[in-house]
Homo-oligomer: 355 residues x 2
């Protein structure tokens, strides 16, 4: 199956090879070195400064989102949440559960944030800002420059969920003054799901150190302490961490994060260019490189026919958009030739009158 | 490397094959069917009754321990914890963190629980009982019959952490009146680490339903609700769940849980028989089938020589036992022929005067 999903996505041959190997014992120097290398490469790929840290949680992306809310905020904070879809809503619910005061900026589906919207929240006593920088459901990539400037001007602690944009769109923790970046193994890292990753600035480390968290599994102090020597408090998903190591080194070998972002960006541009003559629309503001939301007739039929007749997997939608839109991911082990197979299939379906 | 560890252990060829495959999309009927099959087989293998449920958490075993403490107990409970090692201590700390009143039964290293000890806690107002039924650090398998009777007589809600004993020693949830069984992917299930599993009796389900948990990721109500249709609230470790499916079906095909327990038990007996003429001692009361703690001279040298000279991995110990004891696991894809290789290596080392 050729997979244009937004996750889990197709892994490289090297990552699959590691997945097929026996899991080694991990309480030793060999594994510690791999974990320390994972931390260094993660920091490098989000341009974190040298006093930052990266930690690896065995869990879904939501585990990292919840651990972040619990560890870097408390009931003396008042945070602003960009809520433009399901994952923005998740931050809202996490703040509710953990008694963090919040206000939400609700955005319409597919719409970007603007300076005017942000300005209306200036000087209102907020202490933190949370955003899913790519809203995966619509493919919007929120304007990080605007958000960064707003947070700097208002002295806000900035948390960026980059689960579906890491390695797709540039994110510079140092230049954008980002305090926390969250991502996961199964998006552009193109490994199986099961590990989520949090990169923490020095300010974030201080907040964690000062906070008291009612959790053992999500106590980031302990993860950070054991992480200093490349270990974890509890048995982690060793196999996936080894796959992440193979993948991070693969990216580094092929020119690093900029080369990988270019590759994904070129795949996205190529696809968007090649569907221009089809009766399909891309009406998202500020497109992320990771995914294209394609609006057309009979979207759910297209998804099914691609799957059953062509062995091509694209992301369907639930709810009111199910027959109006599908999503094409540009992440994972895909090539221009793979795009061409998808485009040819779409032309076939168009010629058959499916849409 | 021939791995006699207590985890992560060696996987079968079929499980490794699945590990080397691309991760499929999982929000569909195919994956739901696999998850429902996983639930049924897990219930069957712990003899849970038909109203029980099994859920799969993407996380370490500690994630399942913490989720259990948070979801089935609250501050109106008073629980009794068997603390005979590191994992009993972990239950103690989890109860402290989550404000569950507790008392602990401290046991010396390698010692089993007795009727006399238990009787001294009768009629003391306890509501729950937590035990790591196999204390992995020493290999003791606590007397489940005694514990079960004590809990029945005192009307205690019984939580059994069977992380390192599931598939090694018989555990019958129905006959032993066990309310919660916790296990993980990386012990005798012989899959990579990353998934922990909780099997819940009808009483446990009622407790969860009545409880209010301050957590999104560890809200078992949501996991149970989505699990009804074979799904999960958040992206799970799809690959490991597919490996678990392959493994559970493999066990079923080869005669089910009793055949697997027999196989592990025979490996343990064979090893223990074959070291009898060596200057090694097994002084654990009530041996688990999963692991043998072997006491001898120069234990840490033996561990190193086995690793570097023979490519055989056994578990070293930290702390004061590091040079006095090592542990040999009998779980994972091991055979009598593998035992013979280990025994031959031990005889070699003995003849060389290493111990």
């Amino acid at each position: 199956m050729l997979n244009f999903s937004v996750g889990p996505v197709m892994s490289s041959g090297e990552v699959l090879k590691v997945g097929g190997e026996q899991t080694p014992y991990f309480r030793n120097e060999e594994f510690s070195q791999i974990m320390l290398e994972n931390e260094e490469l993660m920091k490098e790929f989000v341009y974190a400064d040298e006093n930052s840290r990266a930690i690896f949680i065995t869990g879904s992306g939501t585990a990292a989102m919840e651990a972040t809310v619990m560890n870097v905020f408390n009931n003396s904070d008042k945070v602003l949440i960009v809520n433009g879809g399901g994952f923005g809503q998740r931050f809202v619910e996490l703040c509710q559960i953990h008694d963090v005061s919040y206000d939400e900026i609700k955005l319409d589906f597919g719409c970007n944030i603007t300076k005017e919207i942000l300005d209306s929240y200036s000087n209102k006593g907020f202490t933190g800002f949370l955003v899913n920088i790519c809203e995966t459901s619509s493919g919007v990539y929120y304007d990080i420059d605007l958000i960064s400037k707003f947070c700097r001007d208002n002295n806000l602690f900035l948390v960026v969920d980059a689960i579906s944009s890491f390695l797709c769109n540039p994110l510079n923790m140092s230049a954008h003054n980002v305090d926390v970046v969250i991502t996961g193994s199964q998006k552009a890292l193109a490994c199986p799901p099961g590990i989520s990753i949090i990169v923490l600035s020095q300010d974030a480390l201080k907040r964690i150190d000062d906070n008291h968290v009612k959790s053992m599994y999500f106590n980031l102090k302990e993860l950070l302490k054991d992480g200093e020597r490349g270990q974890t408090p509890f048995t982690p998903a060793v196999g996936i961490l080894l796959q992440i190591n193979a993948r991070l080194k693969e990216i580094k070998f092929h020119g690093g994060v900029e080369a990988e972002i270019n590759r994904v960006s070129n795949l996205a541009k190529d696809f968007r260019e090649k569907i221009k003559n089809l009766p399909m629309e891309i009406n998202t503001e500020s497109l992320s490189n990771s995914v294209t939301a394609v609006f057309c007739n009979n979207a759910s039929t297209i998804v099914d026919k691609l799957k059953f007749d062509y062995g091509i997997w694209v992301n369907p939608n639930g709810g009111y958009l199910s027959n109006k839109m599908f999503r094409v991911g540009h992440i994972g082990n895909l090539s221009i030739q793979d795009n061409d197979k998808l485009i040819k299939a779409l032309y076939d379906l168009h010629n058959e009158g499916v849409f």
